[in-house]
């Protein structure tokens, strides 16, 4: 089937679903690993897994259901809010108009708008878990360098994040990642203490679960889990982030029907970021995963898997097939 905007959106959504399934599978394996490594057997193993799962769900509910104000992220980087006033600069007026236009197209209430003027980086990000109470922040260099069409494309990308509830999905993914890291830590502790148990039990009473052989098995599970779990967890978290970025690009085109504008905006942002990196010779880390540009350094083959954003080359490639 020929690639177009709608097939891409569909395949992106399918990939998100697969990644979430993988997260769940990873989580179940992790609860098994921790329960097994702690010495639970048979029926008690399953009971323990359920208890761990319930505790994690409670943790998830607490962290994900407390609403965070959309103004937290922009205010934390020193951005200032702009409102529609007569004394606005021309560029501010344009920004407000563009955001209002795209809010109509995306069928959401107009987000609050912030400008960040304390950086030389071109960047934009969205915040807010409620799609009608969101915020969009734009850095001053981005506002000054992009033309109106390119600005529209970038805001369209951020508006898609808001409309697709990506901020909420990322929050949940982060919480699951935290839980998996916690389990990793516990497995590490178990591995340490397992050494103490080994050799101190002489009876081979299998009800107890503390005979030497099973302790070795527990130790192995703890060690392997401690190594693999963090790699898998971060891999999945980054894969989800990149996947949602592709979807936001497609969403921007769905709203604006102008893939060329987004392409040229991405190129401008990329070039400016490379220039800045050369000047400062340090990593430019954008706030969270919703910035339009991710980490920047010299590119390596593994960068595609360690970045929150897909490479600009890949994004432009996909845009050209819309």
């Amino acid at each position: 089937m020929e690639q177009n905007l709608y097939t891409q959106i569909k395949s992106n959504k399918r990939k998100t679903f697969l990644i979430l399934i993988a997260f769940v599978a990873l989580f179940v394996s992790a609860t098994w690993a921790i329960s097994f490594a702690m010495g639970y057997k048979n029926k008690r193993l399953i009971e323990n897994m359920i208890v761990v799962t319930i505790c994690c769900i409670i943790y998830l509910l607490i962290t994900c259901c407390t609403p965070l104000a959309a103004s937290l992220a922009p205010l934390s980087v020193g951005a200032k809010r702009i409102d529609n006033k007569d004394k606005n600069e021309h560029s501010e007026k344009v920004l407000i108009n563009v955001v209002e236009e795209l809010a109509i197209a995306a069928n959401v209430k107009c987000p609050s708008i912030y400008i960040q003027d304390n950086t030389n980086e071109m960047n934009a990000f969205a915040s807010g878990t409620n799609k009608n109470k969101a915020s969009i922040t734009v850095t001053l260099p981005l506002l000054n360098i992009l033309n109106r069409d390119e600005l529209t494309a970038v805001i369209g990308h951020e508006m898609s994040h808001i409309r697709n509830l990506d901020i909420r999905i990322q929050t949940i993914a982060n919480s699951i990642y935290d839980i998996l890291m916690w389990i990793t830590y516990i497995l590490g502790e178990i591995a340490e203490y397992a050494f103490l148990f080994m050799g101190s039990n002489d009876d081979n009473d299998s009800d107890d679960g503390n005979d030497d052989n099973s302790v070795i098995a527990q130790l192995l599970v703890a060690l392997i889990g401690n190594t693999i779990l963090p790699i898998a967890a971060i891999g999945l978290k980054l894969a989800l982030s990149r996947n949602r970025e592709y979807l936001a690009d497609a969403g921007s085109v769905e709203l604006t029907h102008n893939p060329q504008a987004l392409t040229s905006a991405l190129l401008k942002i990329d070039n400016s970021a490379k220039e800045e990196a050369e000047k400062e010779d340090k990593l430019n880390i954008s706030i969270g995963m919703l910035g339009i540009n991710g980490d920047l350094k010299k590119t390596h083959w593994y960068d595609e898997f360690l970045n929150t954003h897909p490479s600009t080359e890949n994004r432009i490639n996909r845009l050209q097939h819309m």
Binding site: H90, K93, V94, E101, I104, N107
Partner: protein, 183 residues
Amino acid sequence: MAFLIIVIIAVVLLITYIVLYNGFVKLQTQCDEAEAQIDVQLKRRNDLIPNLVNTVKGYAKHENSTLTEVTKLRNQIMDTESLGDKLKLSDKMFEQVKVLFNAVAENYPDLKASENFMGLQEELTNTENKIAYSRQLFNSVVKNYNVKVQTFPSNIIASIHHFTKKEFLSIPETEKEAPKVEF
């Protein structure tokens, strides 16, 4: 036992029915809201006209006919009821305004840099975009509604409660011959 199964099936069917019907009401309301949104943007565009005309009047003293045409169309729009007709008239009027505006800009290039002019130019772009996006949104919600009206099993509910397919808004063709403005 068999009685219990029948009851469960009946309950499931009833819930499905209610969910589908409510879905239709929601989509219908979305379409109505999108239509009202277009109306809001059209009014906004209409209200913009006097300011634009005043700004341009000073520089286009010889173009009274176009200015009169614009004012006439604007008054006509205020008396029109149907959204489709309003849209057509509004687009026609706006084409004239744009031509006028561009002609003034060409003949007085210094004006292009003035902040007032840039601000008005931005207003023109902004208003036009908002109407375009409102149309786009309307077509998008109508698409969702039409899909639901025609697919199974919601088409059953649709025919029972007389939810019928809606028309898309077509983008009007620009005038074949743009009106000329002479200075």
